[in-house]
Symmetry: C2
Subunit: 446 residues, 2 copies
Amino acid sequence: MAAADVTGGVRKRVLIVGAGFAGLRAAEALEHAEVNVTIVDKKNHHTFQPLLYQVAMAVLSAADIAQPIRTIIRSPNTQVLMDEVVGFDVDHRRAHLRSGTELQYDYLILATGSTHSYFGKEEWASLAPGLKTIEDAVEIRRRVLLAFEKAEGEMLETGKHPALNFVIIGGGPTGVELAGAISDIAKLYIRKDFKHIDPASARVLILEGSPAILAAYPEDLQNSALQQLKELGVTVRTGQRVTDVQPGYVMVGDQRIDSVVTLWAAGVQASPLGKMLGVECDKKGCVMVDEYLHPKAHPEIFICGDLAHAMSDGKPVPGVAQPAMQMGTYAGKSIALEVEGGRMKKPFHYFDKGDLATIGRSAAVGNVKWPFRAHMSGFMAWLTWLVVHIFFLIGFRNRFSVFRSWAFTYLFFQEGVRLITGSQELPGWGVEDTPVGELTTQPIEP
Amino acid sequence: MAAADVTGGVRKRVLIVGAGFAGLRAAEALEHAEVNVTIVDKKNHHTFQPLLYQVAMAVLSAADIAQPIRTIIRSPNTQVLMDEVVGFDVDHRRAHLRSGTELQYDYLILATGSTHSYFGKEEWASLAPGLKTIEDAVEIRRRVLLAFEKAEGEMLETGKHPALNFVIIGGGPTGVELAGAISDIAKLYIRKDFKHIDPASARVLILEGSPAILAAYPEDLQNSALQQLKELGVTVRTGQRVTDVQPGYVMVGDQRIDSVVTLWAAGVQASPLGKMLGVECDKKGCVMVDEYLHPKAHPEIFICGDLAHAMSDGKPVPGVAQPAMQMGTYAGKSIALEVEGGRMKKPFHYFDKGDLATIGRSAAVGNVKWPFRAHMSGFMAWLTWLVVHIFFLIGFRNRFSVFRSWAFTYLFFQEGVRLITGSQELPGWGVEDTPVGELTTQPIEP
């Protein structure tokens, strides 16, 4: 396999791995620089992760929140490659791709993010899917909708059905969003769809290992979120560490909690590419970087997004979209400066505009830090969430489409993407010892 | 397993199997009848099959052309069950479902349509997918888009790539639609997406076993279709029977034709449920029915859609959407009449409004029979096709969404659903003996 030099000249070669928020912003910052950029991603599309749960919950279509990378990045100095980096030779500044291709680089921007961590229990993955990709979202949608269909069928045959318990492991933003959305589906959107079961009898349970949900938020907003979840009928149990996941149930210590669908919103771990560099990583696999986002002794490498273990204002930079975008821009600008003979003098600084998390229809919490400081709850927080997310979505078509879908959903209680595709099996459905009939496990109120 | 009688009274029980065009129309016709209707379908959604190829070709989203059956059918006398019929006991008027449930019926409307036939070569199925379901469409989309991505990667590594030959087996309406659409993608929509390959170098080849494409159309329209395909750069070879399908190529006799993506639009066979009735079927598995759509000696059973081998005006009724809808309505009305003590006196008659087939952007042929008789070609036929298909789409949301997508695509040459999901493998890509480089197989002009 020849080392492909596609740059054809003296221009510096920048390799960006990962086309998430960080990678795309880096490419944007390099658009007019005298460099040749290659973006490599396993997928052909950028996924707007903050709205992924709405695909999982049948509000949006996959195409509403994903966009082919090639149609986003059109600058003449940039090429896109759908491939997977499987190793690095940092001494010779080379990346090895799955296809066999080797890419030379002068600068490397590594922004491959994170993936689910099942804390070493990989066998839980198929029983409790997490939410990182379009494929994950479609699988979660399939399971949630299928549970209601199976219950309807079983009710018809036997006059009873397993309790419609949906258990979400993890009470971060994703867990809270999923919980609120499942509750909305059951209580609002599919209410009239079934003749034999009452979808509103569904129970949604969040199991959070730490003492509070939404750990990154101030306490008053945590409490507000709890209150809003309670109004939606979602049960939250904190300080409850899941010790086993089985088809049809989960275990917390020696307590068994029946579950028709179990979802994973608990741990994440860094993409394995960080470790492949052979540089220092923290225990999650995030790469330790200096204030310029370089790993030690590698000024030609930038780590961006949640793969980086970075500090700003003496605090760790959180692994969410905003800092990822800022890091990408920072890395791109740094390289653009260097190739012009300059040098980035300011260390990376995370400009935190605040955080927003939705909790179903018309409910949310917002810890706003810019352009003013405020703790928001309820409808206003939700409206803010809507506007911000439409604004940051990539592509006019997507913005239009998402806006229309939300309007339809909000005005007509109609969701149009309730398609079950793929297998008709649900793990654990009809497990011999799953008690059937009315709710057998009453989740304890928090 | 108890036989579930869910009707709870003296009302007659109607079982509709299959929620395609025929099944939905039958349910509609029974909406106000004094019967209890159960619709059983393997899927939770109705698929608008005439536009399925646009999902395969990344113009539309799955959700644009599919709608959950429960949201279409809202009448109080009808229940929907997502399950699969696996057998019948016609003597006791019972259907056995995969879940174990048994359903009693007084009337049965069987409308489960057809599926691909690989003429006994089931091993071809994974190498040359056909187009019947949403899952099929997403798989075809994946393969077509992935072929261009793989070629770009290979070009970068080795400076050459396998010839981008797309081979479509079968020259009926689906084959012609797919061919036109692939040509549009390559020549119009992704033209600017790649730096190393020229997507317009893609070749599309239709292999048709019989002497002409679009066999159901009059000769002048067949010739017009041929001409329009030629203008799009699609090669058509008629009288060419495929003798083998392998990863990376197909064989016609002893001639090998390289193919990066092979699609199946050739044979169909009836759903296996016809044969399960134990009544007379033709060699495709379609049920022989009398002029009232009953199989012999079963006046309580109606066969509708392309599962029926029915005659009208002395000619076989074709297996397309229009007659399926008309048969469904006929069967529903017949039952409604009978339960009121009457009897359907008129035999089924297919009212043929004509046929339309598109051939890519702005091109189509139409054999119009109602409200006037005309042979249409080109842009006017294509416009008619657009209007008719938007009109018959189910659901306002879908009509709106499809209209918008078409407008975007037509005006901006932009398609927004070019997502590759699922595996990144392409069968036959990189097969050792696949010649690489410029087109190695020049399809012979017809």
